[in-house]
């Protein structure tokens, strides 16, 4: 790291954007924003702006991808060309292909896939503006969009990263912290089930720091969770009741 560079966090534990170590960026969550989708959500997480649309359960195209014993969840994480500093080609990058996969795997544990055999459900994620932590914000919004579509869910999935800047473990890194910091640990979590459904790490942490980061990230998720529920409001309540009935049967 450059000596002349400003410290990412000062002696009082205040970060460049004014946050404390364990403080989330401002979040805005909206549900049901896309008229044509079966479910949708919009999230602003810091300067991240992400739109998610869900279509299905519906017949799969092409058909041979369908499964006789369960629904197939497909997930596409995609960045708008203007969402990043240098214009991004709209063709999916290797990074986008990987993130589509880990995001899908972070959502699957929340769904009752076996309830809808031979069908498919598509989650389309569009990152309109990126500012670090897009995968986490995408998961938070995708879970809302799935809930909004009316499909039964075991729990919402909520995601948030922790990481390390200078020598401090902090919550919810934004772009500059992600690039200049020592480590980033995105975590997706189902609070009611105490289940971590996504975990990645880039950068080095000691075992103690790692333990702290995981714990800080899940705590962050627990803070976001009520905001998700608030966004779903009565709609979500309705859905949850249905879910419980079905699982009790």
């Amino acid at each position: 790291m450059n000596d002349k560079q400003e410290k990412l966090i000062d002696k009082k534990g205040i970060r460049l954007d004014g946050r404390k170590a364990d403080e989330l960026r401002p979040l805005k969550l909206e549900v049901g924003v896309l008229p044509n989708a079966d479910g949708s959500a919009y999230v602003e997480h810091g300067k991240n702006k992400i739109l998610v649309g869900v279509f299905g359960p519906r017949e799969m195209h092409p058909k041979h991808l369908s499964r006789p014993d369960r629904m197939v969840l497909r997930c596409r994480y995609h960045m708008a060309p203007f969402s990043v500093q240098e214009r991004k080609s709209p063709a999916p990058s290797r990074r986008e292909v990987e993130l589509s996969k880990v995001i899908r795997e972070s959502l699957e544990p929340a769904l009752f896939l076996e309830l809808y055999p031979r069908t498919g459900i598509d989650v389309f994620i569009e990152v309109l503006q990126a500012d670090g932590g897009t995968r986490c914000a995408s998961i938070t919004a995708a879970a809302l969009a799935l809930a909004d579509s009316g499909i039964p869910m075991r729990d919402l999935v909520v995601a948030c990263a922790a990481g390390k800047i200078e020598d401090t473990v902090v919550l919810d890194l934004y772009d500059a912290e992600d690039k200049l910091g020592a480590a980033d640990v995105p975590v997706a979590y189902m609070p009611n089930l105490n289940a971590i459904t996504l975990l990645q790490m880039d950068g080095t942490l000691t075992p103690e720091e790692f333990e702290k980061a995981v714990s800080m990230a899940t705590d962050g998720c627990k803070q976001i969770y009520p905001m998700q529920k608030e966004a779903l409001k009565t709609k979500y309540m309705h859905i949850k009741e249905e879910t419980q009935e079905e699982t009790e049967e």
């Binding site: 896309l34 008229p35 044509n36 989708a37 949708s40 300067k47 702006k49 739109l51 998610v52 649309g53 279509f55 519906r58 596409r76 995609h78 708008a80 060309p81 203007f82 969402s83 990043v84 500093q85 240098e86 214009r87 709209p90 063709a91 598509d122 389309f124 569009e126 309109l128 503006q129 990126a130 500012d131």
Partner: protein, 263 residues
């Protein structure tokens, strides 16, 4: 596919139009409500989101540098791309651009290019070597009909709030300096698409109306009222008289819509 409407519904729409009426009580020559929000994407050099009824299009402008084309060494490059994002409609599929998104991008491109909206020579950094490249990315977020007019208007809106990076040439190397200069536009083209349903000319077709449309005519109109680009689409036809009639209607509507642009 799930966006297809029934034959009964189609007949209902056609019959209404024949009587000069529409499902949502608009006149045949009325646009739906238009809302434009500018500068939404801070990371882009320019951006605008339009709501045309429920049709929603976001346009982001990115400015990069690159080489000029060999036949225009003193001119910057304008590149328009359109994505029919799959969350905008069950009929849009992920994948490389299909003929619909390519046509949409090329219509938007021609409106800007033929109206000489951008002074391409001002985008030149070093003749023959380095120029600015202006990427206009049209991102369709919800499809409820008339994507062409919405996209074209949002594109010009986005260009209107586009800021160009400052630069200096030092020791033969181009350096991007701090600060920005607004991109100055020489024209404010507005594209008006007129659909033909039966014998009627109708503006701003909704998604269902587009399914009973015979053909459409999209016209880019400049500030002085002259048309600078046209595209006929759809499997039907126009009579020469209808073409002239449509061009007059387009001029009229363009003047109205131009008021939505801020400059």
């Amino acid at each position: 596919m799930s966006t297809l409407i029934t034959k009964v519904r189609q007949r209902q729409i056609s019959q209404l139009i024949e009587k000069g009426k529409r499902l949502d009580d608009r006149a045949l020559t009325d646009y739906r409500e238009i809302k434009i929000e500018e500068g939404l994407i801070e990371r882009a050099e320019g951006s605008a989101k339009i709501l045309l009824g429920k049709t929603e299009v976001l346009v982001g402008v990115k400015v990069g540098t690159g080489e000029p084309f060999t036949d225009t060494p003193n001119e910057g490059v304008l590149t328009v791309n359109a994505e029919l994002v799959p969350l905008a409609s069950p009929s849009f599929e992920p994948g490389p651009p299909d003929e619909n998104s390519i046509e949409l991008a090329r219509i938007v491109d021609r409106g800007i290019r033929e109206s000489k909206t951008i002074d391409n020579e001002k985008l030149c950094i070093e003749p023959g070597k380095k120029v600015f490249v202006v990427f206009v990315d049209v991102y369709v977020l919800n499809h409820d009909g008339n994507l062409i007019d919405a996209s074209a208007l949002a594109a010009v809106s986005a260009l209107l709030n586009t800021k160009m990076p400052n630069f200096e040439i030092k020791d033969g190397e181009v350096k991007i300096k701090q600060g920005y200069t607004p991109l100055s536009l020489r024209s404010h083209p507005v594209t008006v698409t007129i659909g033909k349903i039966g014998d009627k000319l109708v503006v701003d077709l909704g998604l269902e109306e587009e399914q009973v449309m015979d053909a459409r005519l999209s016209m880019a109109v400049k500030d002085d009222g002259n048309i600078c680009a046209i595209q006929k689409g759809g499997s039907g036809y126009f009579t020469p008289q209808q073409i002239i009639e449509a061009s007059k209607l387009a001029q009229e509507k363009a003047a109205e819509m131009r008021k939505k642009l801020k400059w």
